[in-house]
Symmetry: C2
């Protein structure tokens, strides 16, 4: 519910410029997220269509092709890299293990295709830099779906216009039961450092409060501290089954975050200001009920209209249509590689901070 006359509604697609158009997408990587979230999101989109699917397994690719009406072509990674069916798609969505983003993004750039690359952009800062250099001639967007969530955009606008005074503190958490929700396989790539990068939890979940805080504050990290540990055997190769970290932003705001791959499935983001508070909950979870609330100094609270699921569809639909708008239209694409590079530097710093027991500055 929104008070009458109060300018607190969330807004429809403040970014949209297209009237029509279609961006044909090759889905690169057909894991759980692509099948359950990305392909259905594109089916609901206005400006995107999935025309090609790419997998390590020809059988998987063929099965997804069969299930998805718009798909014309099923490819293996090798065929994709070799440039097969290059006329059948305009852009790629890369949703592979982190350390496979670089080769497929490089291939897409070689084919002259726009790229929507899942976050984190790569497994390490060095590979992120390589990816950014390899794709500098094509549009590159990193898939921070929270940044096209209408409520998150409203949060950013409310903060910028002083609705809670100056931001002071952020609390953010994301947790799930990785072995229940994503895959029961303890050998999955998120638990293998050579594919996941620095770890399993801050890379995969902690990046949500980190990046969403950056976005809504319009600020960048300057220093971090962290603690993390793993308990269960499945997590023995990664340092962070459970993690906590603090981030100081360049506006002086502190974020206190937690993330866990062995926790109740939930997420929240809270921004405390000098004269109010904004709480987004549950958040980060994809298609789920989410509420944005403003707490005001007079003791009142105010829920802000959502629209998720009816007018706007879900975050992934928003993200794909935004990507199409930027690729087909004339406005610059964002969040881009440079934006993602800062997250990679921050993630690296968080793991170093925990390992060495020191505060780490972000360059």
């Amino acid at each position: 519910m929104t008070d009458d006359g109060c300018p607190y509604e969330s807004r429809a697609r403040d970014w949209e410029t297209l009237d029509s158009g279609t961006l044909r997408i090759a889905m690169v990587g057909l894991g759980w997220w692509t099948r359950a979230q990305a392909i259905p999101a594109v089916e609901r989109s206005n400006f995107c269509e999935t025309t090609v699917v790419v997998s390590s397994s020809a059988e998987t690719a063929a099965a997804v092709e069969k299930q998805t009406d718009s798909v014309e072509t099923a490819l293996t990674y090798e065929a994709f890299v070799d440039g097969e069916a290059i006329e059948s798609y305009d852009a790629v969505y890369i949703c592979t293990p982190n350390a496979r983003h670089l080769p497929y993004a490089s291939a897409a750039a070689d084919h002259g295709k726009a790229i929507l690359c899942e976050k984190p952009i790569e497994a390490t800062t060095e590979r992120a830099d390589q990816l950014i250099r390899a794709t500098e001639d094509v549009p590159l967007m990193v898939a921070y779906r929270m940044q096209t969530d209408p409520q998150v955009r409203r949060m950013r606008e409310l903060i910028a216009t002083g609705a809670i005074g100056d931001p002071v503190g952020v609390h953010g958490h994301m947790g799930q039961q990785l072995l229940d929700v994503v895959s029961t396989d303890p050998d999955q790539w998120r638990l293998a450092p050579e594919l996941a990068g620095y770890g399993a939890t801050v890379m995969d979940l902690g990046i949500y409060p980190l990046n969403t805080a950056r976005f809504v504050l319009d600020a960048d990290p300057v220093s971090v501290t962290a603690q993390m540990h793993s308990v269960d055997q499945a997590f023995c190769d990664v340092p962070d089954q459970h993690a906590t970290f603090t981030v100081k932003f360049d506006d002086g705001t502190y974020a206190a975050c937690t993330a866990s791959q062995h926790a109740h499935r939930s997420g929240h983001l809270r921004i405390v200001g000098t004269s109010g508070e904004l709480v987004l909950e549950s958040t980060f979870l994809g298609q789920s009920s989410q509420q944005l609330t403003v707490y005001r100094p007079d003791g009142r609270s105010l829920d802000i209209n959502d629209g998720r699921g009816d007018v706007f569809g879900d975050e992934m639909t928003e993200e794909f249509d935004y990507f199409a708008d930027r690729v087909l239209g004339e406005n610059p694409i964002y969040p881009n590689g440079e934006h993602a590079r800062t997250d990679m530097q921050t993630l690296s710093a968080i793991y170093t901070a925990a390992k060495d027991g020191v505060e780490v500055s972000i360059m």
Copy 2:
């Protein structure tokens, strides 16, 4: 609202053993908190009575005596230390600047009086140790009012009985506008390290999420990280106008905390477990609306009955009656000096962690 048949109500005074009795209290330190919170709380209590008031200023003491029907005697600190009116009270409530707890607690112990000492127990770990030694022959309770809050006690019980699985993460925050709420005087004692101790914010506010997390988890800190800074001139002598810190507990749970003396007045405590979440909000603020909610894996949430303000009165009334119950009855008093010593060690570690940019272990 509570679901029928669900054992989630908060409970009345699970600690109470007295049928009758009166503990006569000398209020030592007549600042804002004593006048606005402690004396009214004792007036509402079942087992306490304020009979003596003690201040640095004879005029202040006389004015408070005049305003409070039950008070027989107004004393200066000097007269109190000298043992005047020693037959007029059974116990003292010490609510002075942190670095004045030691002399007045020592005097109370010399007079054979039970002590309810505000938190933090003293300004430094060394002075805390001195206080604990000086008072070992009398009952000493440290005034962690959250520990007698019925909802906080219910939270602890729910966690102990597995209502959210195993605890994984804690989020806690306390903020206020110190210069508006407490005193507009920039020379107040909370901003003077020789009276406040290590700092102004983690000592005064951060201790709430820290200690309440300890209590509800039934766990103790093992290591901390922290970042803090001051901006405004009034805070130039203390390091922590704004602060964030992480705590690892001995059960593996991480707490991510923030505290600010220049923020919207608010507080929250959230415990994330492996199969649910508990959120207490707003909390830490004394007499204010507070709600305890359980989030369950089935996606449902459940508010837990409070009773604050009708059956139970406020936290401070609970605290004073609990103190009387333990002093007049036969059960051991808690939270005691040893419990408070761990907080002082943790607070010291948090300030060291921030100053030196390192993770600090708690001895």
